[in-house]
Amino acid sequence: MHFHKDHGLSHGTASDITPRAVYEQRRSLIKAMAAGAAGLGLSAWASRDALGQVAQPGKLAALPSARSAAAGAVTMEKLTAYSDVTTYNNFYEFGTDKSDPAENAGTLKTRPWTVRVDGEVKKPATFDIDALLKLSAMEERIYRLRCVEGWSMVIPWVGYPLSELIKRVEPTGNAKYVEFVTLADRKTMPGVGSRVLEWPYVEGLRLDEAMHPLALLTFGLYGEVLPNQSGAPVRMVVPWKYGFKSPKSIVAIRFVAAEPRTSWNKAASSEYGFYSNVNPMVDHPRWSQATERRIGEDGLFKKKRPTPMFNGYEPQVGQLYAGMDLKKFF
């Protein structure tokens, strides 16, 4: 495919980053399909360009959305297959093996579900999940996901910016950070009994990070509602940070004055910092972060690909960290 060595520094619009030959070929393919020359598989692939939403796998309830127009919200990289996205997961509440969540998360009850939003806000509220779903217009966003373990995916998420929710509850001047609390239910989550982490799993963002248009309150992927193993019914996706900064199955969002103690930070503060921005220059003590393996691509014997700063979202989020020593605030 068309692989860029620009470390993600330049990707404005689709036509900027898609080589002419490739999009011309796509257009001729679409024309051929219009003429009835192509099969079902090809038309599903082409629908991504033609209709603005990726083809649904047909596994779960559809979650309609419109392709996002936000800067950096839609990468044109090849999507990771739905089967890989939904069978290779870190969701320790359902077990520590990557295959455990897909096998065990069937027990998760996603209705009824409420999200408590409180703390340093003028209008604290408890949102029913169905009210949250209608709070703002659903957007489809195709983000890179970079795991701290050195692998990555490209996933079409469905959701809206967290800022939409934040604006409704009106944070006070004391609100400096946002803390996310996730479900920890021993009855339905077999991993919650383990001592790997402190439960419930807690994550956090600085308020300006949480307000960033790319920070996505997420309800679906591949045009359908989230599968349980991917953090149903509502999760965060923060594409410029390592995957563990995107908490799943959220039950509370709190606005606080002090930096929240997050779960991985509590477990090993020298290894998992509060910021945990994707940064190829700052290695994890146990492994390098300079390269990554794209799941489902990069054949077994191909070298891993270089990881871009902020996972390729530097043009959009770089200014959030202007003047910060990112080696210290890793």
Binding site: T96, V196, R293, L300, K302
Partner: protein
């Protein structure tokens, strides 16, 4: 049964099965979303498992007075090394793209990689002196002393696995190996202490008769 002429070839095939299954999985793409990681982990797992089996031979032989078990020890030890080499090659190739520079820096930088590499280096002279002529050339006593390095390899392998899992605080699987290797090495320690006591007792009968 242990003395059956077919026992050794059968064990040989059994020991090859995990490798055959992994090669098939890599070829048929049945190793999941991240086949490189699956290969690196599985070859490491099998190195540890075969190391445990190899270390179990002597205790089992003595406990059940089954001298014929010793026939299998060399093959099991060599298969341990074989899976260790596969493990290192999977890491060097699939994770590091055989970039010698990167590998050298990685080994120096990451303690668990350093310890894993050290484990393989400790096993190397044991594999290299596993044939009969080497035993003769070294002399049985010296050969045996050299091959006690397998205890160090076992402890290093455990440390390697511990540090790898420490990144995620996930020690459930590690504990199983720790208990098995602890028991196998503990049994030897206990025998060694007992035999020293017995020798001391025999050499200084007067002191004890007071």
């Amino acid at each position: 049964m242990l003395r059956h002429p077919g026992a050794k070839p059968l064990l040989f095939v059994l020991c090859l099965l995990p490798a055959a299954w992994l090669f098939y999985g890599a070829w048929a793409d049945t190793l999941g979303a991240n086949p490189a990681e699956a290969l690196i982990r599985a070859t490491g797992d099998w190195t540890l498992r075969l190391l445990c089996v190899t270390l179990a031979i002597t205790p089992l032989r003595q406990a059940f007075n089954a001298t014929s078990l010793a026939r299998f020890r060399r093959m099991l030890g060599l298969f341990t090394f074989f899976y260790g080499v596969l493990h290192f090659l999977s890491y060097g190739w699939l994770d590091q793209g055989f970039d010698v520079d990167t590998i050298a820096r990685d080994i120096a930088k990451r303690p668990f990689i350093l310890v894993g590499t050290a484990t393989l280096l400790v096993m190397l002279p044991l594999a290299a002196t596993s044939f009969n002529r080497a035993i003769k050339a070294l002399g049985a006593a010296r050969w045996q002393r050299l091959h006690r390095a397998v205890y160090a390899a076992a402890l290093l392998a455990l440390l390697h696995f511990f540090w790898m899992r420490a990144a995620k605080n996930n020690f459930a699987e590690w504990s199983v190996y720790a208990v098995v290797i602890g028991a196998l090495l503990g049994w030897r320690l206990w025998r060694w202490v007992a035999s020293r006591r017995a020798r001391a007792h025999n050499e200084q009968p007067l002191q004890h008769s007071q």
